[in-house]
């Protein structure tokens, strides 16, 4: 059953994300994740509500300052950044990716392990 008061918010969410400051933030996040802006925008629209999208810029700034301080693998993957500051990935899924990446880093070069970890993060975001 479709309720009358349930509106399609995608257009309004898209408008929020394409305003000057938000667009800059989306591009920065997409670059960090290594994915296209359009794909990230679609994931943000699907996963986050309007007030979260409005606050995206501030959360991104705070994440840059305070998230994942200390652990280089967690910092590269953005474990806290993409679960607690900008919740695009489930905490459990991110924990699994982090554990697997740390384990992989024992046998393979760190860059390669992180590259694979980031690939899995992108898959988790788009799933």
């Amino acid at each position: 059953m479709k309720y009358l008061y349930e509106k399609d918010l995608r257009q309004m969410k898209y408008n929020i994300l394409t305003s000057t400051r938000h667009d800059e933030t989306v591009r920065a996040v997409a670059q960090r994740l290594g994915m296209s802006d359009a794909k990230l925008r679609r994931a943000l629209i699907q996963k986050l509500d309007m007030s979260f999208l409005e606050n995206l810029e501030s959360r991104w700034q705070m994440g840059q300052k305070h998230a994942d301080n200390g652990d280089p693998v967690a910092e590269e993957l953005g474990c806290e950044l993409f679960t607690r500051f900008i919740p695009l990935v489930d905490t459990e899924a991110m924990q699994t990716i982090y554990s697997d990446t740390t384990a992989m880093a024992q046998n393979t070069p760190l860059d390669e392990a992180i590259r694979r970890g980031k690939e899995r993060i992108r898959e988790a975001i788009l799933s």
Partner: protein, 362 residues
């Protein structure tokens, strides 16, 4: 919203407790709130787009129309951003007068926010007392600026009107009355057992969560976030010896109490300003030039940031406004209301964060 349970309770967009239309969708399990989602878009003004391409003389009036409650600070931050772009100096007397008007506006805003909270928890007596005393504050704002809400008091390089000695005397007498009354109202709020039941330990947000969402203003200060008041960095406030009010409880009670405490602080600041008001002109003059600048000021609800680009003719080419409610409303929905033990606390918790939807949607 992805459904996890069957019971989804929509609050708003038209709700007796809301001052402005917004919709909060709550997913609940019995009384317990599991998830919340905010739905905006009922009062989008597109004011940033309206401002673009217009001369600063027009944008100045538009800026204070972003919000009807804290219009003075929008005027102040816009003008101080223009002054930063154009290297315009403000005479000391004008800088002090700006603080006087800004603090009167802050008092009016905080009293209105606490009125709304008391009204929401159905303590109508205290709510009406607060609304009544707010009139005295607005009368003083009108006496100085000629208007209660949209004052357009500040202009690049100064202010529009001086504070006459007889007006200052009346204002100080009124502030004494406001202080006395507010002490009584604060005591009623602090000691009321029913108020405590609806406020203490309700809508809790810890310091880490407040930092993560970049919460600002009294909402951040009630959760123990230090150095979260931009008045600490403002030269005039520094000269007046300003210190930040901070509490650590992080609940509805703390947020309302921070506002009560800040009203007394504003009264003290105004008194200091009047006592030490420098002699001299109230307008320094200056020409608005081309450039880009970002500037933040402390609004009653927290950090307000204007980023402006102007051209050689003083036209605003680009402008973005980041209002405090963007951060506070989001933190409220995702940190304070989520996991609330009772759906009845959703409205009071939302109001305790002093949400301004007009600011949020711009």
């Amino acid at each position: 919203m992805k459904k996890t349970v069957d019971v989804s309770i929509p609050l708003g967009p038209m709700h007796p407790c809301w001052k402005e239309p917004v919709r909060i969708k709550c997913e609940t399990a019995g009384e317990r709130v599991l998830r919340t989602e905010i739905e905006l878009g009922y009062m989008k003004k597109g004011i940033e787009r309206i401002m673009r391409g217009r001369p600063w003389q027009e944008v100045m009036f538009l800026a204070e129309r972003v919000c009807g409650i804290c219009s003075v600070i929008h005027n102040m931050v816009f003008i101080e951003t223009m002054e930063k772009i154009s290297d315009i100096a403000v005479p000391p007397r004008a800088a002090y007068l700006r603080v006087v008007v800004n603090e009167l506006d802050r008092m009016a805003s905080h009293i209105l926010a606490n009125f709304s909270y008391c009204y929401t928890i159905e303590h109508e007596t205290l709510a009406m007392y607060l609304l009544n005393i707010r009139e005295t504050v607005l009368d003083n704002l009108e006496r100085i600026t000629g208007s209660r809400i949209n004052t357009a008091y500040m202009i690049p390089g100064g202010v529009r009107f001086d504070l006459l000695p007889e007006d200052a005397a009346v204002m100080l007498a009124d502030l004494m009355k406001v202080e006395e009354e507010m002490k009584r109202y604060t005591r009623i709020f602090e000691t009321g057992p029913l108020i405590a039941l609806r406020s203490k330990g309700i809508g809790y947000m810890n310091r880490e969560e407040a930092i993560r969402a970049h919460t600002v203003g009294p909402t951040a200060r009630a959760s123990g976030v230090e150095d979260s008041d931009l008045r600490l960095c403002h030269p005039t406030y520094q000269a007046l010896g300003f210190t930040q009010v901070t509490r650590t409880e992080g609940d509805n009670f703390a947020r309302v109490m921070v506002r009560f405490q800040e009203v007394f602080q504003s009264i003290d600041l105004i008194r200091k300003c009047v006592d030490t008001l420098p002699e001299g002109p109230i307008r320094g003059g200056g020409l608005c030039k081309a450039g880009t600048a970002s500037y933040s000021g402390e609004a009653p609800r927290g950090e307000l940031t204007y980023t402006i680009t102007t051209d050689d003719y003083g036209r605003v080419v680009d402008i973005t406004i980041r209002t405090p409610s963007i951060m506070n409303v989001e933190a409220c929905a995702h940190a304070m209301i989520s996991e609330a033990t009772s759906i009845a606390d959703v409205t009071s918790t939302f109001i305790s964060s002093d949400p301004c939807i007009a600011c949020n949607e711009r």
